[in-house]
């Protein structure tokens, strides 16, 4: 009997989805496949999430599995820990990444440490979803982009897709991952474009970047909402005859160092783009990776185009805060003309 394992039929049909729809689809796929999966958070139930990322799930799976919680981020994460060590796979939504701070202690001292503290006896296979970033004229604090606060926290993986295909595949991979994953969703590109996404289940491997454009003059590295900004700069550079190798990092911890090393060893130049503050930003880790792997290949100092070392401002100034294609292009020119 065991020999005749049912062949899981995987659909090859695809469907046009925005990134947020692909996230919903990823959640739905896993809710269907694995009854240990639960979705919980503020307004994720009847309301379908403030961005509609959980739209329709409450109707389909009921309030036992799509759980509206009190307004209590430490409670959400703390209770998810209790559920995760006790057999469930919670997918907790933090309404905005800028509101994750009340749960920081739970994530830092428990989510990321339980496996190590119990030598693997207990683990916390949970996903924390959080919309992040500026550019949608949201009120204050809603726009923070603080991935670096979590990549400096051993015991949790961090992913950040920039496309519908990757979003669904990474969501499924995150839910299946035996360890906790912080799943960052750029609000600015939630609905910025549509893409063909396979129906049913597939995964995108956590820890692997993606090459979006091949070029030999300079390596551009970005993730989330900065990917389209960077691609636009790459197009403009092209008109000046500069060919960019563009990497969408997709996973922020652990970073795909090989895709970076391979690229900069070819180009000898790098521009890193992120919307988080420069000091303490992930860009510095990438500079170090290049230092460690490719010192002798580098023809010019690495440039970082980032959010400034100032709190993300109220929205009247947020366009000034965010990296633009123009700023990226300037950096490209700088490394090329060094």
């Amino acid at each position: 009997m065991v020999m005749e394992r049912a062949v899981v039929k995987r659909s090859t049909k695809t469907i046009q989805l925005t990134m947020i729809q692909a996230i919903t689809d990823g959640l739905r796929t896993m809710l269907q496949e694995d009854e240990r999966v639960l979705v919980l958070g503020e307004d994720v139930g009847k309301n379908g999430g403030v961005f509609r990322a959980t739209e329709g799930l409450y109707e389909q799976f009921g309030e036992d599995r799509i759980i509206d919680t009190p307004l209590s981020e430490a409670g959400i994460i703390g209770a998810s820990i209790g559920m995760a060590v006790n057999g469930f796979k919670p997918v907790a939504e933090i309404q905005f990444l800028g509101f994750i701070y009340p749960a920081y202690e739970q994530i830092m001292t428990h989510v990321s440490r339980i496996r190590m503290r119990t030598m693997g006896k207990y683990s916390v296979p949970m996903v924390i979803r959080a919309p992040y970033g500026a550019g949608i004229r949201a009120p204050e604090v809603h726009s923070d982009s603080v991935e670096a606060l979590f990549t400096h926290m051993p015991g949790i993986k961090v992913v950040c897709p920039s496309s519908a295909y990757d979003a669904k595949g990474l969501m499924i991979a995150a839910i299946e991952d035996p360890d906790p994953v912080l799943f960052l969703e750029s609000m600015r590109i939630y609905r910025a474009s549509r893409e063909e996404v396979p129906e049913g289940k597939y995964t995108v491997e956590i820890g692997k970047g993606k090459k979006l454009l091949d070029g030999s003059d300079v390596t551009l590295i970005a993730w989330g909402a900065m990917v389209p900004v960077t691609m636009k700069a790459a197009e403009q550079a092209k008109t000046q005859g500069i060919n960019c190798d563009v990497i969408d990092l997709r996973t922020l911890y652990p970073i795909d160092k090989d895709i970076i090393a391979e690229s900069v060893q070819k180009t000898g130049r790098a521009v890193i783009v992120h919307e988080a503050h420069q000091t303490g930003g992930l860009g510095n880790d990438i500079v170090s990776i290049i230092n460690d792997t490719s010192f002798l290949y580098m023809k010019s100092p690495i440039e970082r185009v980032t959010g400034f070392d100032v709190p993300v401002p109220l929205f009247a100034l947020e366009d000034h805060y965010l990296p633009t294609p123009q700023r990226v292009l300037k950096a490209i020119e700088k490394v090329v003309n060094f």
């Binding site: 503020e42 307004d43 379908g48 604090v141 400034f308 100032v310």
Partner: protein, 355 residues
């Protein structure tokens, strides 16, 4: 110690005074001031919603339905008290004395909207829920240390009571017997989550028991009840009696913000029912009529005045100088660190501006 908290009213839905003890305190002037401020902030609120719809304002958090809570409590404050509002309490701050134009600026993403006038103790609106509650405790502790008679009031919603900061703030204030008033507007919802899912507690007022703090549950649509109970709580604080938790039971008629669709999660006809029976303005109107304070001319006059004031504020907001990119860099520290100075300089150079 009793743990039951009936909803206190001073004036009922029909505009009838329920407790004679307030009779003398309710002067025509006071009632008219209630009426005036409720009309004023309601006019502002509706204007803001309509501006948002026209794309002339960013996402906006309306408070219509909650005006009695905000006006009654704000009028109970002294000029030298502190006020710690949320994003939905500009009805209270406007009543307390915040600039109308600045309030509009805030909703247009302008940091200038957070800045109080000189001498005004108005904290910028708390966006992360419940975080302002310990601030109010601290500001009140500071007033006590200075030996003043000033108090601090923190506004927050029913959802906010689930956050740790609510608990820590109330505990601090009670341990240090700070002159703080924790003014809860229980409008029944935290975005889509009804208060019954927010807590198992039947009232918010009873949470005061955890801190041996007086807790009061009042009809938040009864501006009289709000005013007198807030006044009492403030006075207790000023006189060394420590903090108070007030639960004002009210209702938000409209969406959580202009980005929200309440039809997704609740029956909006309830808003209409309440509007027709328990609306804060209706109640004062009835009271005024019952007591011979009603004066069509005066109502007409203030309505026009207010409308002009709001229009002028909108004009001033729209004519306000454009956001200045320097403000992105110049206020993080008293003197910019080199990282900020360098980033500013490079950015201004790139965008063809002068520092």
């Amino acid at each position: 110690m009793l743990a039951d908290f009936p909803i206190l009213q001073v004036v009922d839905e029909n505009g009838l005074l329920l407790h004679e003890q307030y009779k003398e305190k309710i002067t025509e002037e006071l009632v008219k001031s209630f009426y005036y401020h409720i009309v004023r902030i309601r006019t502002f609120d509706r204007k803001a919603v309509s501006l948002q719809r026209q794309g002339r304002l960013g996402t906006y958090a309306p408070f219509e339905g909650q005006e009695a809570s905000q006006v009654g409590s704000a009028l109970a404050l002294d000029k030298d008290d502190w006020i710690f509002p949320t994003y939905r309490d500009h009805g209270a701050t406007l009543t307390f004395g915040a600039g109308m134009m600045r309030t509009l600026l805030y909703w247009n993403g302008r940091v200038e909207g957070c800045v109080p006038d000189d001498g005004q103790k108005i904290f910028p609106p708390a966006v992360p829920i419940a975080t302002q509650i310990p601030h109010a405790a601290g500001a009140a502790m500071a007033e006590k240390r200075k030996g003043t008679k000033n108090a601090a009031i923190a506004y927050f919603g029913d959802g906010a009571t689930s956050e740790g900061d609510f608990h820590e703030g109330l505990n601090f204030a009670s341990v240090f017997q700070a002159p703080a008033v924790f003014f809860n507007q229980n409008n029944g919802f935290a975005i889509s989550v009804p208060v019954e899912k927010q807590m198992n507690s039947r009232t918010i007022a009873q949470k005061a028991l955890a801190y041996n703090m007086p807790g009061v549950r009042i009809d938040g649509n009864d501006v009289f009840a709000v005013y007198f109970n807030t006044l009492e709580a403030l006075n207790r604080g000023r006189n060394g009696g420590g903090p108070t938790l007030i639960e004002a039971v009210t209702y938000r008629y409209g969406a959580h913000t202009t980005a929200d669709d309440p039809f997704k999660y609740r029956d909006q006809s309830k808003s209409e029912t309440i509007r027709n029976t328990r609306d804060p303005l209706l109640r004062i109107e009835r009271y005024m009529k019952n007591n011979g304070f009603w004066d069509e001319n005066w109502v007409h006059k203030i309505t026009e005045e207010i409308s002009n004031e709001v229009d002028q504020a909108v004009k001033d907001m729209e004519n306000y100088p454009k956001a200045n990119v320097n403000d992105l860099f110049d206020h993080v520290f008293e003197r910019p660190t080199w990282t900020i100075a360098k980033q500013k300089e490079e950015y201004l150079r790139l965008s063809g501006r002068e520092a």
